[in-house]
């Protein structure tokens, strides 16, 4: 028998019992919709989480610190795990690493408009700077500019300053107001000329005014990894500090055994940028094996996602139960249908309809119930998903953008294309599986039923 004939036959059989077919399909609709909505909630939650991690900082970035567990073992190891320029080069050689940026941190005190504050200036590479999202009008400091200029984290504006008398927090605007910076006193003094160090103490009181080149995007309520520090180009910062601290290079230099300051830079942190989120774990492990202390946002995200995976399974299970009930409904309908059509099936067998064709005809019927239920269920899922997102979005007015795609607030319910396809295929599969036992029963019915005259 031809497939299209089988299909038409199955369809016309379903049409004969419209109400019953409709009710059975309704069961599948509810089952499919509940699975899809439940899974979409899980996915939406996972996506929102991913986005919130992304907002907080890059997911492809690994932070490398000096490992303190190893630092006291012996000098050679210590040398190896110090965050030096040599190690920056070593990191660059690792597979999947696209950029490495050291971070040279200097804490400064600042005064502005009668308010006082402290923050850290971080000298980072051009690549790091290019990853920063700036407010409009800002630009990242050039590598070779003569003057040191700063990018302010958005939270410095709101949270780092306080009124000197009342300790009330104060807001500053570095674009308009002048910020006077005081760099810390050097803890290192060359033993040979003590007098020189006296004069340096005087120097440290000097206030500097550094030009602003940008502000990290975001307002009072936006936090990210980059919100609390000021950023500068590392080479410019090095040049600037050299003028201040001379041979010591930095305010608190490490010293060799004989008390001399290091002649090279030791960084507080090195940032390693990986080409893809999926390679982060791998690179992170290599760095850890080299003896460094490492962490990344990816690591946190993974453990959070594992927990969310459990939640997703529970949600999917709840949806699954209703689809199971729908499957029983299909089975029941098909059984009824077979009892009603016993004679008809017998006639078909007498007239030479293959047993497998009879089975397939019933499988098609239950499959069509699954398909229609799946499609309608998916449609309803999209509606429910839309309403969930509409109700949970910050303001109803933004709802239009939900249709277009992702909004800033994120959507709680998210139905990707694969979920839609999976839902329909799953519904067909459930229909066919539920119809299998009745179909085999129909296949085995005796043709003699056609002969009997009731």
């Amino acid at each position: 028998m031809r497939l299209c004939d089988l299909f038409k036959l199955a369809l016309s059989n379903l049409k004969r019992r419209k109400t019953r077919t409709f009710l059975t399909i309704l069961g599948v609709v509810i089952g499919t919709a509940s699975i899809v909505v439940m899974v979409s909630l899980g996915l939406g939650m996972s996506q929102m989480m991913l986005k919130s991690y992304q907002d907080e900082g890059s997911l492809t970035m690994i932070r490398v610190y000096e490992s303190y567990e190893r630092s006291d073992s012996n000098d050679r190891n210590k040398q190896l795990t110090e965050l030096t320029d040599d190690n920056v080069e070593r990191f660059k050689a690792i597979d999947h690493v696209i950029e490495v940026s050291p971070s040279l941190d200097v804490s400064v005190s600042a005064k502005c408009n009668g308010a006082e504050g402290d923050f850290t200036i971080r000298g980072v590479s051009q690549y790091y700077l290019s990853q920063l999202k700036l407010r409009e009008g800002g630009e990242i400091p050039k590598k070779d500019q003569s003057e040191l200029s700063l990018i302010y984290g958005n939270q410095i504006l709101y949270n780092s300053f306080y009124k000197s008398k009342t300790y009330e927090s104060a807001e500053i605007d570095p674009e308009k107001d002048t910020v006077f910076l005081t760099f810390p006193t050097s803890s290192y003094s060359d033993k040979k000329n003590n007098s020189d160090s006296e004069s340096e103490t005087v120097k440290k009181q000097k206030k500097y005014i550094l030009p602003i080149s940008g502000i990290i995007s975001g307002g009072r309520d936006d936090w990210s990894e980059n919100s609390y520090s000021a950023y500068a180009d590392i080479d410019s910062l090095k040049r600037f500090l050299r003028k201040l601290y001379k041979k010591a290079l930095v305010p608190n230099p490490r010293t060799t055994k004989n008390g001399k300051a290091y002649t090279y830079y030791v960084y507080d942190t090195i940032y390693v940028f990986v080409d893809d989120m999926n390679n982060v774990k791998d690179v992170q492990k290599q760095l850890a094996d080299m003896g460094f202390s490492v962490n990344s946002n990816m690591e946190w995200l993974e453990s959070a996602q594992q927990q969310l995976g459990m939640v997703q399974m529970v949600l999917g299970g709840i949806g699954g139960v209703s689809l199971l009930v729908a499957a029983i409904g299909i089975m029941n309908t098909m059984m009824m249908s077979i009892y009603e059509r016993t004679k008809e099936i017998g006639v078909m067998k007498v007239l030479g309809c293959d047993m497998s064709d009879i089975r397939n005809m019933f499988l098609f019927e239950s499959g069509i119930i699954g398909l229609m239920g799946g499609i309608a269920g998916l449609f309803i899922s999209y509606l429910i998903s839309f309403f969930i997102n509409f109700l949970t979005s910050d303001s109803g007015g933004e709802s239009v953008s939900m249709f277009i795609g992702y909004t800033d607030g994120g959507s709680l319910s998210y139905i990707p294309l694969w979920l839609a396809a999976f839902a329909i295929i799953f519904a067909i599969a459930v229909g066919s599986i539920a119809g299998y036992v009745p179909a085999v029963r129909a296949m085995k019915l005796s043709p003699l039923a056609a002969i009997r005259n009731e």
Binding site: M1, G352, C353, L448, N453
Partner: protein, 253 residues
């Protein structure tokens, strides 16, 4: 002349509780191509069982059924279905049209089981409906037609696959006497004109008398065989074989 159907020593035994009921108690006969056979008997005589076994709907307990040199008593169900699809037309007492299909679709249905395309099978169905004299009723649904019309559709459905044998189980059982005559006339005409072989089961001696040859069944035995001497096919068989068709008759004790 070789017989189309050979039945030898055929038994059908039902086990009802601990009792054995002999529905068919060893019957043997031949049927030739072109014959119109009536198996006559009261209800419970075993006539229907005999027909069912010839059509491969019921398995015999013992005995041989050979149709067109094939042992159908040895076939499994899938093979029997294929055999029926290729060789057998069936006419039912209660017509058994599929209610969701119109007349022409019902007629074309056996061809659909053969995997024949829509256009071709509709053409064949139209041809046979015209032959039966209901060419104008193709679009009617079964419940819009009278019993006689429905049975004509049933006959057209049996003919459409161009079968070697047509089985008819009380084909006129649900028709009034006038329509009965029409339908029997039609069936007889088709058998003689189209050179078909028909095996009909009936309880009515009057209806059976339309056939070329009657096999009267009582309690699972053939007790009498009546040959219509004026029938051309019977004359032909006798001429060619020198004797009437083979049939074991067990007279009533």
């Amino acid at each position: 002349m070789e017989p189309l159907i050979k039945v030898r020593d055929l038994y059908k035994i039902f086990n009802i509780g601990s009792n054995k009921v002999y529905a068919l108690n060893g019957v043997s006969f031949d049927i030739y191509k072109g014959e119109f056979i009536a198996i006559v008997g009261t209800s419970g005589s075993g006539k229907s069982t005999c027909l069912n076994m010839l059509a491969g709907l019921e398995a015999p307990s013992k005995g041989v059924i050979q149709i067109a040199n094939k042992r159908i008593d040895r076939m499994n169900e899938a093979q029997l279905v294929r055999f029926r699809r290729q060789n057998v037309g069936f006419i039912f007492q209660s017509y058994n049209l599929i209610p969701s299909m119109n007349a022409i679709e019902n007629v074309a249905m056996p061809l659909m089981f053969r995997g024949i395309g829509y256009e071709e099978r509709m053409k064949a169905a139209k041809h046979y409906m015209k032959l039966i004299g209901i060419g104008d009723q193709g679009m009617h649904m079964p419940n819009q037609m009278s019993g006689g019309q429905q049975q004509r559709v049933g006959i057209a459905r049996a003919l459409v696959i161009d079968p070697q044998i047509i089985f008819a189980d009380e084909p006129t059982g649900n028709l009034d006497s006038h329509t009965t005559d029409d339908v029997l006339d039609l069936m007889k005409k088709i058998v003689s004109e189209e050179q078909r072989t028909m095996v009909m089961v009936t309880h009515d001696p009057h209806i059976a008398s339309w056939a070329d040859r009657q096999l009267k069944v009582v309690d699972g035995h053939i007790v009498e065989t009546v040959i219509n001497e004026s029938s051309p096919i019977e004359i032909k068989i006798k001429e060619e074989n020198g004797e009437p068709p083979f049939c074991v008759v067990t007279p009533i004790n």
